[in-house]
C-alpha cells in the first residue's frame, strides 16, 4: 500500500460536484505537486485530506492506515490520531493575530499534546533558528512581512512533527520579492526528507521541488509523471494546452 492513498473520493458542495470517485497515490519519498486550472479542486483535495471538508464517499489513508471515510452528509468518519500526523499551510495567513510568533508555535503542542512549556519553547526556538527567524520570536504577526508569516506558519505546523505536509498556494498572496524565501524554506524541508503535497501556480518551483507532478482538471487526474516528463514531454493534449497557457502568462 502506498504512503498516501485516496480511493474513490466523492466531494460535493451542495449541487456542485467536485470529485466523483477520485484516486491518487503517493509514496513516502515523494513530493507531489498538484497543478491544474483554477477551480478544478486542488484546494478542495488538500482540505479533504486535512479533514476540513465533509466528504460524501471514498477513503483516505496515511502510512497504510485509513483515517477518513466518507459517508452521507454529517456522517464522515475521521480518525484524529492519524489526522494529527498531517500538517497544512494555507494560502491566506492563518497565524493567530493575538499571539506572538512563539505563542503561535507553542499553542498546539502545549495545549493539546501535553508538551511541557519549557520543552515546547526550546523546540520552537530551534525551529525559528533554523528558519532564520529567531529574532522575531516575540513579534506579533502584524509586525511580520508576508514571507515571514508564511514561514512561521510552516514552523507552527512542524512543531507537531507531521508525517505529511500539505501546502496550498502558500506563496500566492505574497509580493514577488518575498516568494523566494518561502520556497527556499520548503526546499530545505524537502531536502530533509519531508513528504509533501504542494499546490502551486509557480511552474518553475513545481519542476524544481517535485518528484511527481499531477495535472488535474474537472476533478480528474489527466496526467501524472515525473516533473521532467510532464513539463518536457506532456502526453495529453489537455496538459499541453494548460502548460502553454500558464507558461505564456508567466512569460
Amino acid at each position: 500500500m502506498a504512503f498516501v492513498e485516496i480511493n474513490g473520493l466523492v466531494k460535493r458542495y451542495g449541487a456542485l460536484s467536485i470529485f466523483e470517485g477520485f484516486d491518487l497515490k503517493m509514496e513516502a519519498t515523494d513530493r507531489l505537486v498538484l497543478i491544474g486550472p483554477s477551480g478544478c479542486g486542488k484546494s478542495t483535495l488538500l482540505r479533504c485530506m486535512m479533514g476540513l471538508e465533509d466528504i460524501a464517499g471514498g477513503q483516505i489513508s496515511l502510512g497504510g492506515k485509513e483515517y477518513i471515510e466518507g459517508a452521507e452528509a454529517g456522517k464522515m468518519r475521521i480518525d484524529a490520531k492519524i489526522q494529527k500526523d498531517v500538517g497544512m499551510v494555507f494560502q491566506h495567513y492563518t497565524l493567530f493575530p493575538h499571539l506572538s510568533v512563539l505563542g503561535n508555535l507553542c499553542l498546539a503542542p502545549t495545549r493539546s499534546r501535553g508538551m511541557k512549556k519549557a520543552i515546547a519553547r526550546d523546540k520552537a526556538m530551534e525551529l525559528l533558528q533554523r528558519f532564520g527567524l529567531a529574532d522575531r520570536a516575540d513579534f506579533y504577526p502584524s509586525q511580520l512581512s508576508g514571507g515571514q508569516k508564511q514561514r512561521v506558519a510552516i514552523a507552527r505546523a512542524l512543531m507537531l512533527d507531521p508525517k505529511l505536509m500539505l501546502f496550498d498556494e502558500v506563496t500566492s498572496a505574497l509580493d514577488p520579492e518575498l516568494v523566494n524565501e518561502v520556497e527556499n524554506t520548503m526546499q530545505d524541508l524537502a531536502n530533509a526528507g519531508m513528504p509533501m503535497m504542494i499546490v502551486t501556480h509557480d511552474m518553475h518551483f513545481a519542476r524544481n521541488i517535485a518528484t511527481k507532478v499531477v495535472f488535474q482538471e474537472r476533478g480528474k487526474v489527466i496526467e501524472a509523471a515525473a516533473p521532467d516528463e510532464l513539463f518536457g514531454n506532456p502526453q495529453q493534449e489537455r496538459t499541453r494546452d494548460f502548460l502553454r497557457n500558464v507558461l505564456h502568462i508567466n512569460g
Partner: protein, 221 residues
C-alpha cells in the same frame, strides 16, 4: 432665579457614598454581564438549534423590554419565585447583569462573526480540541475586537444604572433626589449629579475611540 451651590459641600459625603454604591453594582454587573454575554454569544452562534433558539429568545426578550420593567420584576417578583429575600444591592446586580448580558452578547456576536473562517481551519489543522480553540483562539480575538463596543456597553450601563433609584436603591441618583427634596434646591443638585455622571462617563467614551484605533492595528494581522 438665584443659584447657590455652597450648601452642597455639607452633602459631599453622602453624594460620594451614592457614587461609590453606583460604581460597585455597575462594576459587578458589568463583569458578570461580560461573562454572561460571551456565553450567550456562543449560544447565538451555536449549530445546536435548542441552544441557538434559547439564547436568541433570551437576548431578544431583554433587548425588547424596558430596563425599568426588568428592574421591578427582579426586585419584586424574583424573590417570590425563588422564595428568598434578596438585598437591594443583590437585586440591582442581578437585574443589570441579566440585562447587560443580552446587550453585551450582541457586541461579542459581531466580533465572533468577524473572525475569519481560516482561523478555524488553522485550529483543525493543528488538531486543537474544541475547548482549547474556544478559550485560547476564539475568546481572546473576540474580546480584542469587541473591546470598543464593550466599552460603549459599559458606559451605557453606567448611565442606565440611575434607574435603580426608582426601586429605592441608594445610588448616586437616589441620593441626589433625596438631597433635592430635603433642601428644596433641585436645580443645583441635579446639575451636580449630572456632572458627576458625565465626569465619569465622558473619559470612558473618549477611551473607546483611542482603544479602537490602537487595537485594530494589532488584531487585523
Amino acid at each position: 432665579m438665584e443659584l447657590d451651590f455652597s450648601f452642597l459641600l455639607s452633602y459631599s459625603g453622602v453624594l460620594l457614598q451614592g457614587l461609590s454604591t453606583t460604581l460597585q453594582f455597575v462594576g459587578l454587573a458589568a463583569l458578570l454581564g461580560l461573562i454572561w454575554g460571551f456565553v450567550l454569544s456562543l449560544g447565538r452562534t451555536s449549530e445546536n438549534h435548542v441552544i441557538y433558539w434559547a439564547s436568541t429568545l433570551y437576548v431578544e426578550f431583554f433587548r425588547g423590554t424596558p430596563v425599568l420593567v426588568q428592574l421591578f420584576w427582579v426586585f419584586f417578583c424574583l424573590p417570590l419565585f425563588l422564595g428568598i429575600d434578596l438585598s437591594g444591592f443583590a437585586s440591582a446586580v442581578i437585574a443589570l447583569s441579566l440585562y447587560s448580558g443580552a446587550i453585551i452578547s450582541e457586541s461579542f456576536r459581531a466580533a465572533l462573526k468577524s473572525i475569519e473562517s481560516s482561523q478555524f481551519d488553522a485550529c483543525t489543522a493543528l488538531g486543537l480540541p474544541r475547548g482549547v480553540q474556544t478559550i485560547f483562539v476564539v475568546l481572546p480575538q473576540a474580546v480584542l475586537r469587541a473591546i470598543p463596543n464593550l466599552l460603549s456597553n459599559v458606559v451605557s450601563l453606567f448611565k442606565e444604572s440611575a434607574l435603580v433609584s426608582a426601586v429605592g436603591m441608594a445610588d448616586l441618583m437616589y441620593v441626589g433626589q433625596n438631597i433635592a427634596n430635603n433642601v428644596a434646591r433641585p436645580i443645583e443638585i441635579l446639575t451636580v449629579v449630572a456632572l458627576i455622571y458625565f465626569a465619569i462617563g465622558f473619559p470612558l467614551t473618549r477611551a473607546v475611540s483611542v482603544v479602537e484605533a490602537r487595537l485594530l492595528k494589532v488584531v487585523k494581522a
